[in-house]
């Protein structure tokens, strides 16, 4: 390699000239990858190592924390906070299903029926992102206010009696109940469901629908046998993009929920900022990550769609 740097290009011997592009080429991919690798190391690998270390430390703020390989923290944290874990998974799953039920028809509409309104509807789907997540969640407190029109209508239809009996709401209000938290999660993550659904629906060739019709398939059969299977990539990535962040969310539970709707994100926040139990907070984060990873892997395997994401 030293000849390369010493000799100016035109004077290079023929042999090196043949080799040069190849040896330069061997390293090029790595140089191009370097920014990405550095980014991953600094913002992913190092924090993960630090967090892993924190989770097996013991000590206190005043005495300092030392690594003592105290793995019992994991067991204790799980034993103490499993209800919040289950609740998070349940709320996130409910929100994901709701997002799918709401998002699929809308994405279908945008992809096949919207015509010249398509761009306008897409903008309406994305527009909420222009304001802050926090403000949008706070807005739901006004929408669902006890004396507001929405809750008033639900009450006069006696729908809240049903949800109250199911344990989703309490009395004649919606705010500060599980239903409010799930609604908030659904609202906040709906665009993450619609966008991937739209992209995979939009790619479907319209002639396939015609072909299905030629083969005497009724519209519903066409949807069941043609459209839905072809949109599976969108369904899988949409549900993942909704479920994963919803599980770790704590803003909705904090603002729209009550004491019995706190999610695992709230617990981690409290442990880290108020109780200053850094090991437990780190252990809880790792358990959450492992749980999500496990569930997602299982889900992708089951839907047989490794090539989708």
């Amino acid at each position: 390699m030293s000849t390369l740097t010493e000799a100016p290009p035109p004077l290079r011997p023929a042999a090196t000239e043949r080799k040069a592009p190849r040896s330069r080429g061997r390293w090029t991919p790595y140089w191009l990858l370097l920014p990405g690798i550095l980014w991953l190391v600094v913002f992913f690998a190092l924090p993960m190592i630090y967090q892993a270390s924190t989770s097996v430390q013991t000590g206190s703020l005043e005495e300092g924390y030392k690594v003592t390989w105290h793995f019992a923290t994991y067991w204790d944290a799980l034993g103490e906070y499993w209800p919040q874990f289950l609740r998070s998974v349940f709320y996130a799953a409910a929100a994901t299903v709701l997002c799918l039920l709401l998002g699929y028809p809308l994405a279908y509409l945008i992809a096949f029926r919207a015509g010249r309104w398509r761009n306008l509807i897409m903008i309406l789907v994305i527009a909420p992102f222009f304001t802050s997540f926090l403000i949008r969640t706070l807005a739901w407190k006004t929408i669902l206010a006890d004396n507001g029109p929405v809750v008033g209508a639900l009450n006069s239809l006696h729908l809240l009696d049903v949800t109250s009996w199911l344990g989703w709401t309490a009395g004649d209000r919606v705010l500060a109940t599980p239903l409010a938290v799930v609604c908030g999660l659904t609202y906040n993550f709906l665009p993450f469901m619609i966008l991937p659904l739209y992209t995979s629906l939009e790619r479907i060739d319209g002639r396939l629908h015609e072909a299905a019709g030629d083969l005497y398939a009724k519209p519903f059969t066409t949807f069941r046998k043609v459209t839905f299977p072809l949109s599976m990539p969108g369904v899988v990535s949409g549900t993942l993009l909704t479920f994963i962040p919803a599980t770790g969310d704590y803003v909705n539970a904090e603002l729209l929920g009550s004491t019995d709707t706190r999610m695992i994100g709230n617990v981690i926040q409290t442990q880290f900022l108020r109780i200053l139990d850094y090991p437990t907070a780190a252990a809880l984060s790792f358990i959450l990550m492992a749980a999500i990873l496990f569930m997602v892997t299982f889900y992708i395997r089951r839907s047989g769609t490794e090539d989708l994401v």
Binding site: I49, Y50, A52, S53, T54, V56, Q57, G59, S60, L61, E62, E63, G64, Y65, K66, V67, Y81, Q84, L138, K141, T142, A145, D146, N147, A170, G171, R173, L175, A176, L255, G257, S258, T259, D260, T261, R262, N266, V267, T270, Q271, F272, L273, R274, I275, L276, D277, Y278
Partner: protein
């Protein structure tokens, strides 16, 4: 008076401190190097990297608290405060009292509103202070319990009484001797905060609220009662209602209060434990009554006539937000002059008239009357002697107690 004397170290002491500082640091580095090397020798999938992490003991590792004071050369002071906690003129661009300070002293103020939450702010400045580094801030404003913690950790500097003549004379007797900073050696209050019971007359619909017991027990308020997520306010108010003194209580007393609140949570009586966001719930009527902060109530009353407050017969809690000078601050003298400036009654009056919290400065009344007569008569801004007599402060907690109590309170609020 003695604790107000500034620390003067002999040259020998200074040299000794420097020595221990260097040795201490070197020792630490060697230790972590050895630890890392051992880990590396083990070479078991990143174990070494894990062991090399670890958080050094807070406050104990750094040697010198103060940095070289550059107040004379750099005519500036960096002041970190909470949002909307200072007077602003009608244009919304300048802050009259800060401008007056600059005119009077020639020291420019870099004012930043970057404290939104005590716990969060602690997380933000902890790494620098624990490592003995400058935070870039000369004055920070922290609530009692966090002020107590940073003093306990040795992360703030002792104030020089010579620079604080007004503060020393004019500090209201009520705030002179908190058990976590006797004689105010490290901190001076920015504003005081009364914790009271607030209610929305329309939402109450004739239900009478006179005490915390009414909040916890009246079935007609089920699901429409709010408590604060600030442990000391919620626990303190309930403790007073149970006839116990938040200034001196035992673990059993604390547990009894938790049990009392837990019963109300289980019944569905308490709707939420809130931070500042209770104000919108209260004006909308989603909360009929709640434990609330006095300054907020003064401001809410200006806009919504339905909001009112009472001070329960059992007494109420008072806390303070305190100005402190973090370790290694570059402009300590300027910072002290700023603290002292706000203890001149006319400046304190201008501030109190705008922010509506309890003024910690004595003899503000005549000045405040000139600016705003109704504010001067409002006991939430200037508590009279009778009201001050019913005010209580939460006692300082040891680190062990703090962890245990916060954990129990977190469980109560759903973890």
């Amino acid at each position: 008076m003695e604790q107000f004397e500034p620390d003067r170290l002999t040259p020998a002491q200074v040299a000794a401190m420097r020595r221990s500082f260097r040795n201490g640091r070197a020792a630490l580095t060697r230790r972590s190097l050895v630890r890392a090397a051992t880990g590396g020798a083990l070479a078991v999938g990143g174990l070494g990297a894990l062991s090399a992490c670890g958080i050094p003991a807070a406050g104990k590792t750094q040697g010198g608290a103060s940095a070289e004071d550059r107040s004379a050369e750099e005519k500036v002071v960096n002041f970190s405060n909470w949002p909307e906690y200072i007077d602003v003129d009608d244009s919304g661009k300048s802050r009259p009292t800060l401008d007056a300070f600059t005119r009077q002293t020639g020291v420019a103020v870099k004012y930043t509103e970057d404290i939104n939450d005590n716990s969060e702010f602690f997380g933000k400045i902890k790494p620098q202070l624990a490592a003995g580094q400058d935070t870039g801030r000369d004055v920070i404003v922290l609530t009692d319990w966090l002020a107590a913690r940073v003093i306990r950790l040795g992360w703030v500097q002792k104030l020089d009484a010579a620079n604080l003549p007004h503060a020393f004379t004019n500090l209201s007797p009520q705030f002179r001797n908190p058990d976590w900073d006797p004689g105010r050696a490290y901190s001076y209050p920015w504003q005081g905060i009364s914790t009271v019971i607030a209610f929305n007359k329309k939402a109450l619909d004739g239900v009478e609220v006179k005490s915390v017991s009414d909040l916890l027990d009246n079935p007609r308020l089920k699901g429409r009662v709010g408590f604060l997520s600030e442990m000391r306010d919620s626990i303190g108010m309930t403790m007073l209602d149970m006839g116990k003194d938040p200034g001196k209580f035992t673990d059993d007393d604390f547990d009894a209060v938790i049990a009392r609140l837990q019963k109300a949570v289980d019944k569905g009586q308490i709707r939420r434990f809130t931070g500042n966001d209770y104000t919108s719930d209260l004006t909308k009527g989603d909360l009929a009554a709640c434990v609330a902060w006095g300054g907020d109530i003064v401001q809410l009353q200006a806009d919504s006539p339905d909001v009112d407050y009472i001070i329960p017969a059992g007494g109420y809690m008072t806390s303070t937000d305190n100005m402190l000078i973090p370790n290694k601050a570059r402009h300590k003298t300027n910072a002290e002059r700023l603290i002292d400036f706000y203890y001149q009654p006319e400046e304190a009056a201008a501030l109190a008239a705008y922010v509506n919290f309890v003024s910690p400065v004595d003899d503000v009344k005549p000045y405040l009357e000139k600016i705003d007569k109704s504010a001067a008569d409002n006991p939430l801004i200037l508590p009279d002697r009778a009201m001050q007599a019913r005010s209580h402060a939460f006692r300082a907690l040891t680190q062990k107690e703090e962890t245990a109590y916060e954990e129990k309170f977190a469980k109560l609020t759903g973890a």
